[in-house]
Amino acid sequence: MNENRRNFLKKTAGAVLGIGAGLPLGQVAEGALGKHPTDEGVSGSTQWAMVIDIKKCLGEEVRQACSEACRKAHNLPDIPNTSHEIKWIWTEEYQHVFPDQTHPQQATGVREQPVLTMCNHCKHPPCVRVCPTQATWRRDDGIVMMDMHRCIGCRYCMAACPYGSRSFNFRDPDPYIAKDSNGKLPSDYPVRGKGVVEKCTFCAERIREGGTPACVEAVDAIPGAKGALTFGDLADPESGVSKLLRKEHTICRRPSLGAEPSVYYIV
């Protein structure tokens, strides 16, 4: 009996030592596994970004044109209940868009200034980290994309997004989509069903065809508002966004969070 106990203790001590010796190795392996794919360097050469000139968007008709163009391009519903509404591009007050760039001594009206907001297509998107089905992911060209086929409607991404850029279809959006007199939808873009999350995609379907986002196209058609939104490739030093970012003083939303938005604002 004593002999057995001695052997048992010997084996246990050996095993504990063995595990202890292997620990540093295990931590290295865990570190490599824990590294998220989105933290890796981006391999694609294109990096889409947007610059919004707040001053040029002060007119109601400019912001209206943006959201209306988006609504038409993506068959967005117009749901009166604000807790059910679907927002891709919309207006918030300056103090809510830039809560960390607001102070009580700001000139009158600045804090209440209307600012266009949309998905920031972050370099380190928190929504992507939490999605359990990889229904949302960051493409090589910087667009944070949604795969509606995979979305299970858990809304983790909505909880993770610090900018409130994602909307959930609490109900079938179809009755709230404005149709023409023949009952036809505004565009061929697939509609969404109840139970999925959606957001701005930088008009990936238009970019694929060599076009620009619908909102950018809409503001450029308004006299005086041209350049209110500028869309382009950050990786190309000669693109419109690159030139603007070099020339103008720009800010982005809540930089302290480290998500690194791709949407910049000229204040």
Binding site: D147, M148, Y189, P190, R208
Partner: protein, 129 residues
């Protein structure tokens, strides 16, 4: 042993009920497969017709992932020809409309489709209406 009669009756009843679908359908002809809208243009499909009949669902799933996840738009079939990976912009350009093609067979086979819950039939014939 006194229950033999009851057991035999019970067994007979069970056999009759269990085989109900077989003898009920006996002698009845099954409805003919639906007349699908014939391709309007082109003579060959992406793959051969028999393979497409059996595997179109898997092919469309593969196309979906390739287009949405990898941004690829062109499918190279086993005979080397290239095709755009799109149900609405490619398949239905030859096969007509959802109603005349997809729905007829899927209603016949009672296989529910979810594609059209979101995707819109953009066939020229439907758009004209």
């Amino acid at each position: 042993m006194n229950d033999r009669v009851k057991i035999v009756i019970g067994l007979a009843l069970f056999v009759v009920l269990a085989t109900f679908p077989i003898w009920h359908a006996f002698g009845k002809s099954t409805p003919a497969p639906p007349d699908l809208s014939r391709p309007l243009a082109g003579t060959t499909c992406v793959e051969n017709a028999a393979w497409m009949t059996a595997n179109h669902a898997q092919l469309l799933d593969q196309w979906r992932d390739a287009v949405v996840r990898e941004g690829k738009m062109t499918y190279i079939s086993t005979d080397g020809s290239q095709h755009e990976m799109s149900l609405t912009e490619n398949c239905l350009r030859c096969h007509g409309t959802r109603e005349k093609f997809c729905d007829r067979c899927h209603n016949y086979a009672d296989v529910q489709l979810t594609c059209w819950n979101c995707h819109l039939d953009t066939s020229p014939e439907v758009q004209k209406q």
